[in-house]
Symmetry: C2
Subunit: 382 residues, 2 copies
């Protein structure tokens, strides 16, 4: 991707071909260096999440000190969220999958925020009934990834507001309109809910410290586009008496139609595999997916294909090749021309159907404990 391409990345807009190194420089974040990956692997008992090993998470803020603290006996907690505007697709799982892995390896608590208020404010076409319903549906999908019911807590904004609001009041006084305007690019026509919202998105980063009355570090895995939200969080953390949350940032997963970032609204529904897609839809979408293949089979056998631009390879990379050995083999066979796109898609579809089948069962189990994970009470009145 040429460095001169213009691109826009805010929490409400991702446009153009993203130059991820340049974006990291613009945002002022750190690259995840090999030594940091080694440290994570060592602390995780010798394993590394594919999302880290394959560079999908590529940027961070203050991850080093967080890991040092953990090694010295100071556990952290995880925080990630979802704006429920519709069904989840596989790319939405990237941050939750890293959280699940970290929870399993580090034994730490997880806080999920479901922002049904924010999505109502951000999307004029959505009703409150819709964002509330999708909030619950999305929550089942998230918990079904394998979170530990004993260590997983949910802030469902409209239902958890009594728990969140005391801290949100304090956070909101520290954030000016000009800050949010600069960070999010708000217009005069922006509604006052959206203007306020970042105060609520900030709360989970401080909530466990507030609740337990001691300083507990926070780690937020998120798409790089969400960094601006949490920059505000980091700006006000110390003034509120809490540690700055650490962040790890992922690249945006490319869409099946070959766009640089994943847009999935309206006619772009073919751009992603939704968790509620019927099997035939999954087949159709994968068969139509943009690849890095050549014009003819002969040419591809001779010259090989280009995995880096392929949306199917991106699916193997982010989720469907569980081991580095398998992922390496797929990549090498693609590049050499040994693996043709049709066969690659068939193999992927096997994995996708298997995942969705197991996921449906896990989702039913998640429904049995989702309600009990929703936090509804504040630990302190003020």
């Amino acid at each position: 991707m040429p460095e001169t391409d213009p691109f826009v990345v805010t929490p409400y807009e991702v446009k153009g071909r993203i130059d991820y190194d340049r974006l990291r420089e613009l945002f002022g974040t750190q690259a995840i260096a090999p030594e940091l990956l080694d440290r994570i692997r060592a602390l995780a008992g010798g394993e590394l999440s594919p999302l880290l090993a394959r560079g999908i998470y590529y940027s961070h803020r203050d991850l080093g000190p967080l890991l040092e603290g953990f090694a010295a006996g100071r556990p952290f907690f995880l925080y990630s969220g979802r704006g429920p505007s519709g069904p989840l697709h596989t790319s939405h799982l990237v941050s939750f999958e890293l959280c699940r892995w970290l929870q399993a390896k580090f034994g730490v608590p997880m806080y999920v925020q479901i922002t049904d208020d924010e999505k109502f404010w951000a999307r004029s076409g959505l009703s409150r009934e819709e964002t509330a319903r999708w909030g619950l549906e999305n929550l089942y999908d998230i918990l079904a990834l394998g979170f530990d019911p004993k260590r997983t807590h949910v802030f469902f904004d409209s239902r958890s507001i009594a728990a969140l609001y005391p801290l949100a009041i304090r956070a909101a006084r520290r954030i000016t309109y000009s800050s949010v305007k600069a960070v999010f690019g708000f217009e005069p026509s922006t509604n006052i809910g959206l203007v306020f919202y970042t105060a609520l998105q900030t709360v989970p980063a401080f909530w466990p410290s507030w609740s337990e009355g001691r300083s507990i570090p926070c780690l937020i895995p998120c798409g790089i586009d969400q960094d601006p939200h949490f920059r505000l969080t980091r700006d006000i953390a110390e003034g509120m008496g809490y540690p700055k949350p650490a962040l790890v940032h992922s690249r945006m997963v490319p869409g099946l139609l070959g766009e640089a970032a994943m847009s999935t609204t309206g006619s772009a529904r073919d751009n992603a595999l939704f968790l509620n897609d019927p099997p035939k839809e999954i087949d159709r979408k994968v068969r139509n997916a943009f690849t890095g293949g050549r014009a003819t089979v002969e040419e591809q056998r001779r010259l090989g294909a280009t995995p880096e631009i392929c949306s199917v390879w991106a699916l193997w990379r982010s989720r469907f090749a569980p081991t580095e050995e398998e992922f390496g083999r797929i990549t090498a066979d693609c590049r050499s021309g040994a693996l043709l796109c049709g066969d690659c898609k068939s193999a992927l579809l096997e994995r996708v159907h298997g995942f969705l089948w197991r996921h449906a069962a896990a989702r039913e189990r998640a429904k049995t404990w989702a309600e009990s994970a929703i936090v509804t009470e504040a630990p302190h009145p003020v």
Copy 2:
């Protein structure tokens, strides 16, 4: 007051000598005409609150249709609020006193909103502990005025947020930043809590209709300076499916030091009689109060005094002369020179001390039911 004096009236600033007729024209509200007072008197069984009879409430929006509805068997509810920044003074009681009178005469429900979040956002010098504590102290004082425990409900923002938030989410999407900027005069440095706040102040006007699933009209007695808040409420009411609230507006009560409006912060504490002032403070403040008297006793006996500019007369007028007969006599004797300022102040002090003595006992009784009046649950999840 000359019409050319510049004055500023917003919910966050009252400055200059207010021309109340001009203000009413600027705000586009209706004068309370004698026929409207006659209608209220008739519906109230032949009596009229001194606050209405003496023109302290002088302006309204849609009061006529509200009364017509009541006469036709369609009861309304009352809504008023308090931003708890410190102790209440007697002028704060003006809107609650009218509510109490209307509740007693019309038998209607009353909703009190205590905005401990908003005051924290509006006053950087106040801590959350302070606004929460003053919220409760102020609430006791308000309920002690004689509200009916069976018909009086309290939204204490930080504690009632679960009840308020579902409607606030809907209201906030209908209010743009440019609207609140225009109405309240916000700056880029305004915090995002204050930007959001009017959404929460709007909720009680719709809450009973939402809760009961039928259209219930709302009447809001408030200082004319609070009209802009409720103009926004009225603007979004019909789009949300609720009736526009009717309003009655009072003049600002002049301070004891003779200012046009009552400022009571910092060194201006002598400008008002606080409900928690010790008796000696009350004596001192009234003795030092600005009057419409003459330079010498002789001159006053000969020329009479000017009640309209007198802060002591304003106290008689707003609260301490219960009957029109007594109020008329005090006014006439002041004007004729028969009543000297010292004697007038002594008579007023008797009344003030008597009121505060009875109020202290009523306040203790109010404490026994205040907690149970606080609404903490939403009637519907969405």
